[in-house]
Subunit: 175 residues, 2 copies
DNA sequence: CTGTAAGTTCAGTCAATACAGAAATTACAG
DNA sequence: CTGTAATTTCTGTATTGACTGAACTTACAG
């Protein structure tokens, strides 16, 4: 069992707190924070002991984190147990999370909006007001989704370069 | 009381569902969806009846939505009751939400990260691994926060123009 | 003032989710 | 095979947070 340094503890607790605000289970977020800080892959028991939660809880959390694609299993020679490590590149990590959220939440929402608009157009309800609003929302989400995909498709290094574009972006938009 | 069209109902229910996934109370999201679709401002009682929830619940939800800055009170001549309307510009709306989330969640996280890094630098813990990770996270969030602020500061029209920049952005990054 | 409508706050209830511990399953060593 | 370690699944409990209805406050009309 790792004894957490006060700093690590502080970060892990805060990360867990933030998780809950974004609809992510506190333990899941804590496990992720722990793996993010850990210099080496950890096995379930280690995680459970360190965070003082049940092994079963850790098991579920790890499964979820793998579902998000930000934690993966690795194996250590001479050890039967699964070990887990978190991606260390923050840019990559947030990209992955955005991708998942898009897939799970934006895409289904777009489908619903599409259906709504279609139903309003075919049906005899001439509710122009509602239709306009739903279309606006649909167009917005579509644009965001496309924009995101473009960004995601860039080579990892280039994404980091975005940060330096601010000045140039302004000029582009100014004209 | 408004009788909701099937389409409006579908959208409102879905919006509520999405809310929960992003850490937003279902009722709050539903109230927002209803106001977003409504061609005219509504008062609390109307909302409560339409969504079939308690008035008190609506009151709380409206207060929260005002806190997010995406719903505001308006008054109707000859009517003592407060009426509420949602911002109709989706770009503006998401910008406002991002701003609030930044203020409430990103900024505090940055503060914590800053403290963590500082503590590791002053203390005799030579935990370079942890420090590096926390710094990387801090730098990432700082960059994102700054980038966001730049975008936010642009005139509303320009933001919409971002969507058309994809091709040009690629070239910029390619070089 | 007084009465009534509107809006908010509060305390208790209820439902959803998180969690622990046990049982079941899987994988492997001997 | 058999036994054991590792992991997952399941079931019941606990915690959290959402929601209601009632009490309370505020603002105004008469």
């Amino acid at each position: 069992m790792l004894a957490l340094s006060p700093v690590a503890q502080k970060f892990i607790l805060h990360w867990g707190e933030m998780g809950t605000r974004w609809g992510i289970n506190r333990t899941v977020a804590q496990v992720h924070a722990l793996l993010y800080l850990s210099p080496k892959p950890l096995h379930a028991e280690e995680i459970a002991k360190t965070l003082a939660v049940a092994r079963s809880n850790v098991s579920t959390s790890l499964r979820e984190l793998q579902g998000w694609g930000i934690v993966r299993v690795v194996h250590v020679l001479g050890d039967r147990r699964d070990h887990f490590e978190a991606g260390k590149d923050v840019w990559e990590m947030f990209g992955t999370i955005l991708e998942e959220r898009k897939r799970r939440e934006i895409d289904p929402t777009l489908r619903v909006l599409q259906e709504c608009v279609a139903e309003l157009e075919s049906g005899r309800e001439k509710d122009a007001e509602t239709r306009g609003r739903l279309q606006a929302m649909r167009d917005f989400l579509t644009t965001m989704a496309t924009l995101y995909e473009e960004v995601r498709r860039m080579p990892p290094g280039a994404i980091r370069g975005l940060a330096k574009l601010r000045g140039r972006m302004r000029k582009l938009l100014g004209k």
